[in-house]
């Protein structure tokens, strides 16, 4: 794809509601386009060089979703930081739980 074609494609797709910045071995930007579920992703390395650019059609780009094992470990870890323990399911490491924030 030529630079002018790329620019035209990016302009045509536009920018939607969601923009995510990911900091993992360099900065990545994940921008939803005006078309729902169509994401424009730019991956950069630690020198800020563009190493990959892609369009992903997905509910959420795979790179953002956590693996299920990480969710269970995260729930246990979050519960251990709160003496209240939050939702009981957090303490058991079950997926999806809530911890009320105290004011």
């Amino acid at each position: 794809m030529s630079p002018s074609d790329r620019t035209e494609l990016k302009r045509a797709l536009g920018e939607g509601e969601v923009r995510v910045t990911l900091n993992a071995e360099g900065i990545s930007t994940i921008q939803e386009t005006r078309i729902p579920g169509v994401w424009w992703i730019e991956h950069r390395d630690l020198q800020d060089q563009l190493i990959a650019e892609l369009i992903d059609v997905n509910y959420v780009p795979d790179i953002l979703a956590r693996a299920s094992g990480e969710i269970a470990a995260g729930a246990r870890g979050a519960a251990s930081t709160d003496s209240n323990g939050g939702d009981r399911r957090c303490r058991t490491g079950r997926q999806r739980c809530w911890m009320p924030m105290r004011t």
Binding site: A24, E25, L46, I51, A52, I63, L64, A67
Partner: protein
């Protein structure tokens, strides 16, 4: 790097070095792009590689300028290409390893014996055969003899750079050292020529990734 005795999966090695799953997925996406694979292959590659055993790699340097190795390793800060060193077990590379002399040669022999039939042999530089191989010797052994011995137990041979792949500058007329490319000396197993002076680092890492993905590195292929 050069931790020959550790039998870790790629995922375990990445965690040990503080590289996140997302960082690795990003690397795989970039590698898939460099290999002209569909972007969707990136997450699939990451998922497969995470649980793969790291293949043993023996890296031999002969008549060369070290530019090929520097292409892979040199940068002012860690680059995403350097992640390949978490995916392979670089068991011998006389340029990078701390050991020298008999200890280094022993490490190479040990790695080749322990992983016989499974390791990847990377060669950079052409191989001088003139004067009985005397133009390039290490530990009293000529380059051509070292290559023949190392090739016996290799699952595949990767020739990095134009010198190893096609002879390069040493091979040019009048070729005073009797230099030959690797494929003209050994055979009987897959030989992958990665030309370039130096080669593109993403192409080197992509080739090694393909080897791991094929399952050769885990001994299953």
């Amino acid at each position: 790097m050069l931790d020959a005795n550790e039998d870790l999966t790629v995922g375990e090695m990445l965690r040990r070095h503080g590289i996140s799953r997302r960082g690795f997925m990003k690397y795989c996406t970039a590698a898939a792009s460099a290999m002209a694979l569909p972007p969707a292959m990136g997450p699939a590659m990451a998922a497969q590689l995470i649980n793969a055993r790291r293949p043993s790699v023996v890296y031999l340097s002969f008549q060369e300028c070290t530019g090929c190795l520097e292409s892979l390793t040199r940068s002012f800060a860690p680059t995403i290409e350097n992640l390949i060193f978490n995916i392979i077990s670089l068991d011998y590379d006389d340029t990078l390893m701390a050991a020298a002399g008999a200890a280094a040669e022993a490490a190479r022999d040990q790695a080749m014996e322990a992983n016989f039939g499974k390791y990847v042999l990377i060669v950079d530089g052409s191989v001088p055969t003139g004067a009985g191989g005397a133009y390039c010797t290490a530990g009293g052994k000529s380059a051509v003899d070292t290559l023949r011995e190392a090739a016996k137990g290799a699952a595949a041979i990767v020739c990095v750079g134009t010198c190893a792949a096609f002879g390069g500058i040493p091979f040019a007329d009048p070729n005073p050292t009797g230099a030959w490319p690797v494929a003209d000396i050994v055979g009987g197993k897959p030989i992958i020529n990665i030309s370039g002076c130096p080669p593109i680092p993403e192409v080197i890492t992509g080739t090694l990734l393909q080897f791991v993905l094929d399952g050769e590195g885990s001994g299953s292929g």
